[in-house]
Symmetry: C2
Subunit: 232 residues, 2 copies
């Protein structure tokens, strides 16, 4: 599940330069670059764990990650599954000293870490950078909140349809894709039992909404999927 070795990756151009660091002058950007540590995580590897002390500001450069916490009964509750650009650090690195959630790689991923104190110093020094960061952070947290509401709102079939539609449209931009998660992880995401998630997959197959071979999913009838997702 979790391989401890982390190797440094090469870092040529930072895709986040425009998204997050556009407002930094070249001197400050150099400081960020020099401070930054780029880490590769292989599929299944932990990026950070619930309870760890927050020392870095993290963002995902490539790959796919899941944000989750452990429930009282020891089950994983998945909070978000996100690609780069959208996900920037955890939701609360500025207000809490310890991570409240764990983060692990669903696909091979590259994350950059920058010392949080440096980021704070740069915000204080450069308000434009701070404003941009507020905007980016707020976009991500807003997505997490509204997705949580969307899930709460739906019944079993609606939740499964919603998740499939999310992977298809937001993550893979394709009607055919390989699920990056197990059936159990989908269940942990939508707060339903694994058996019922699988049952719903079977129903969707029977109804000609999807085809699936293992983790490979093809959405045959996106319109019907959308209808089911809108509470059906």
């Amino acid at each position: 599940m979790q391989k401890p070795e982390k190797k440094k990756c090469t870092c040529l151009t930072c895709d986040f330069r425009e998204l997050v660091f556009a407002n930094l002058n070249s001197e400050d950007f150099d400081r960020v670059c020099n401070n930054k540590v780029e880490l590769c995580f292989s599929k299944g590897e932990m990026i950070n764990a619930e309870g760890d002390t927050v020392t870095d500001f993290k963002y995902l450069k490539s790959g796919l990650v899941k944000l989750f916490r452990l429930t009282a009964s020891g089950e994983e509750q998945i909070i978000a599954i996100t690609r780069p650009y959208e996900f920037v650090s955890n939701t609360h690195v500025f207000s809490e000293g310890k991570y409240k959630y764990s983060l692990s790689a669903l696909e091979d991923s590259v994350a950059c870490t920058i010392n949080l104190d440096l980021i704070k110093e740069l915000i204080e020094k450069n308000g434009g950078f701070g404003l941009q960061l507020i905007t980016v952070l707020s976009r991500t947290t807003e997505r997490i909140i509204s997705q949580g509401l969307d899930i709460r709102n739906r019944n079993l079939a609606g939740r499964v349809a919603y998740v499939l539609s999310y992977f298809s449209k937001e993550i893979y931009h394709s009607r055919v894709f390989d699920l990056p998660v197990s059936r159990k992880e989908i269940a942990d995401f939508i707060s339903m039992s694994t058996a019922n998630v699988i049952r719903t997959f079977s129903e969707f197959k029977r109804d000609g909404i999807i085809k699936s071979y293992g983790r490979t999913i093809e959405i045959i009838d996106p319109d019907k999927l959308e209808v089911v997702s809108k509470r059906g």
Copy 2:
């Protein structure tokens, strides 16, 4: 439900000065003060509606509010119920041009509005202010996210117990309090049916966990409430 008249209230000292505006020098604080409009909302009144254009940064000075959105079927889905200090503006005023959620007063409330462009200008000019704002905003959004997860995690009885415990401990700091919301609103908050919320109240009464006369609640057995809240 909704009275259109809004009257200006007197504004002597701003309680938010330390929480949000501590980093502003007196000149900038004066600009905020001059720009700020203080509005009184009576119980039930809308503060802003889903879809309205975001022009102001808002924070609650006193009272109690609910943040909610309308579902596809026209029902209210309540996202958060918060007192002042914790709630600062909506969650996404920096990343979206229009409100995604509505905000209305559960008790008579006073909200301050400041032109959002001024806030942005001050962030750009004063990074310390920006950093403080990030911290405060992130604290609120984090609470909304984790509360959503807490709710998703629980069954009917657990959700009702959780909400009662929330009102008792976080909002009113007392074992006896008047519910600021109807049974239906609790149902809209925890995504359960009104009838079942009421039934659960009755069960809690029968089991000697609470007493209730209308909206007045007394928590008799906080420990048992806690046990039920922890799923079951």
